[in-house]
């Protein structure tokens, strides 16, 4: 009998906290999104029109958010994979130093890191003149363009991509890779047929951990972008905290969550569910 109630006692406080302050608020968010009226006198009346209005009004920001987040995820993957591979297989005794360097940016505040990029990408900076000579900075500036926002997102969420890929590469039985070589596979064949498929769970986890926070982010667009680079996070923040248009903001928030959930489900279907939930579900 004691064994039967014990897990519920252990689980109780945390589960209650998550239910009360995560699940219940989502319900309130949904309810608020169906309110109508002006600030101070909102009333609940199944006002579904909020959704249509919000979507038609802010469609560009929605599309832009997913576009920026998708590109940032792609760039982060391209940067993270070689790094994770180096740490897992080539670093030797430097492994812990490199792992430390990957998490080091987390030790400085997110906002200050983003502001540091504002400094690095500002028009007077030497980095921008180099990019300009390479033809990567049209008209000599990078700041306040979509490129700067995507670069900021890529940078800020890169550790979330590196760590899961590293974890899955590190777990690979090296003998499998050696077997590929013994069977006369070329280096690239071994990589694409053995190493890459075995690291797929890390890639799936990493892309989700990058894409989800990136698509809801508004800090990078705020500091590195201009008015024409606003993402859906900026709209939600401004509707909530500046214009106090709660129903519209709640509707946008809810649509954002639903859209991400749908994208994630499609992606998992496509990439294999065990890749994501394999460990979580144990």
């Amino acid at each position: 009998m004691r064994r039967r109630v014990a897990p519920y006692f252990l689980l109780g406080p945390g589960a209650a906290w998550l239910l009360l302050f995560f699940v219940v608020p989502l319900y309130y968010l949904f309810e608020l999104s169906l309110n109508s009226g002006v600030f101070g006198s909102y009333e609940f009346n199944w006002h579904w029109a909020n959704y249509g209005d919000a979507l038609s009004l802010y469609e560009t920001q929605f599309v832009r958010s997913f576009e920026y987040a998708g590109l940032a995820t792609l760039f982060a993957l391209l940067l993270a994979y070689p790094l994770a591979y180096t740490i897992a297989f080539k670093a030797g005794r430097w492994r812990n130093v490199l792992l430390f360097a990957v998490v080091a940016p987390f030790f400085t505040t997110y906002l200050i890191r983003t502001l540091a990029w504002e400094t690095i990408l500002s028009d007077q900076s030497p980095v921008v003149s180099v990019l300009d000579t390479l033809g990567l900075a049209p008209e000599g500036h990078v700041l306040a363009t979509g490129g700067a926002v995507i670069a900021g997102l890529t940078y800020n969420f890169l550790p979330f991509m590196v760590l899961p890929i590293y974890a899955s590469l590190e777990r690979i039985d090296v003998r499998l890779i050696e077997a590929g070589k013994d069977l006369y596979a070329s280096a690239s064949q071994t990589f694409f047929r053995v190493t890459l498929p075995l690291s797929a769970p890390g890639v799936v986890a990493g892309t989700l951990l990058t894409f989800i926070p990136a698509s809801g982010d508004y800090v990078n667009a705020q500091f590195l972008g201009s008015a024409s680079n606003q993402m859906i996070g900026n709209v939600i923040q401004s509707l909530y905290l500046k214009q106090s248009d709660y129903p519209a903001a709640a509707a946008l928030s809810f649509v954002l969550m639903a859209a991400i959930l749908i994208l994630v489900l499609i992606y998992i279907r496509f990439a294999g569910s065990e890749a994501l939930m394999g460990e979580e579900a144990v």
Partner: protein
């Protein structure tokens, strides 16, 4: 093509992955270097964006801005409390999930994963809606604490659980055979062995809390935390002291992390001092890395 040039070319080709890897690491460290360098800057106006001249004055005046100090103290208090609460209840949850089979386990796992898969802006706005409609909590330190504990719990559970999964339960059996009560067994055997995991989880919770901007932005009322101060100051120009404090926090965290790694190695040594050591799994994995995976 000459012999030497061919050799260099071959070396480059063979080490291409490492070269890219090292370049990416350098890219990750650039902003830290910039933040450090600009903490010695002597800007002419309010904006600390272009290099003007070298000065130590902002380091000696690190705590000279009252509002900044207040924000920092609020952030530290908040982070300590959120860490304590989330580490305790998260560890209990991890114990339940690893040690017991029970009805609702899958639902509990789902409840833990889903906050990590939700954008912060959604969590922030949902909590604000909740607080506004409910009306019982006035926005401020208490709502910040509720929010921070909420988003830290999941991460604590994940970290502690990974530590518990590799736990050798024979050690607990031995304690029980020697007459220890369940509580004594927990206090003297289980807790010391999972302590590095708990410590790691607590550090992660602390880092998440002290760095949180988005959720705090929604639920702070008029309370100002360190990130909120920076956000507010960004429009009117950020004082150089912010860089100084960011670097102090950075060095402090690096030291804490070094301490955590040292603790973990010590715990691994403790567990490995056993008469019949199993050979095979884990034998080739260097200490300190296996637990991170």
């Amino acid at each position: 093509m000459g012999g030497r040039g061919g050799g260099a070319w071959r070396w480059l080709r063979e080490h291409a992955v490492q070269i890219v890897g090292v370049l990416v690491v350098l890219y990750m460290l650039i902003p830290i270097v910039v933040i450090f360098a600009f903490s010695f800057n002597d800007p002419a106006g309010r904006y600390n964006f272009t290099w003007v001249g070298f000065t130590f004055s902002h380091w000696s005046n690190a705590f000279g801005i009252p509002e900044l100090n207040e924000a920092l103290v609020t952030s530290l208090k908040l982070a300590v409390l959120a860490t304590l609460i989330s580490t305790v209840i998260g560890t209990l949850m991890a114990m339940a999930l690893v040690r017991y089979e029970f009805f609702g386990r899958r639902a509990a796992n789902f409840l833990i994963v889903i906050p990590m898969a939700t954008p912060e802006v959604v969590m922030g706005s949902a909590l604000l809606s909740f607080f506004l409609i409910l009306g019982t909590f006035s926005l401020g330190f208490q709502t910040l604490l509720i929010a921070h504990v909420m988003f830290c719990i999941s991460f604590v559970v994940v970290v502690v659980r990974s530590r518990l999964i590799g736990f050798d339960r024979n050690l607990e059996e031995a304690a029980k055979d020697l007459g220890a009560s369940p509580f004594t067994t927990f206090r003297l055997v289980t807790l010391p062995l999972i302590m590095p995991g708990i410590f790691g989880a607590a550090m992660l919770a602390f880092a998440l809390s002290i760095d949180d901007f988005v959720i705090s932005n929604f639920n702070s009322g008029t309370t100002v935390t360190f990130p909120l101060y920076i956000f507010g100051a960004a429009q009117r120009g950020i004082p150089v002291e912010v860089n100084v404090i960011a670097m102090i926090l950075f060095f402090f965290t690096v030291c804490a992390m070094g301490f955590a790694t040292w603790q973990q190695r010590r715990a691994e040594k403790l567990t490995s001092v056993r008469p019949e050591q199993e050979v095979g799994v884990g034998a080739g994995v260097p200490a300190g890395v296996s637990a991170n995976a």
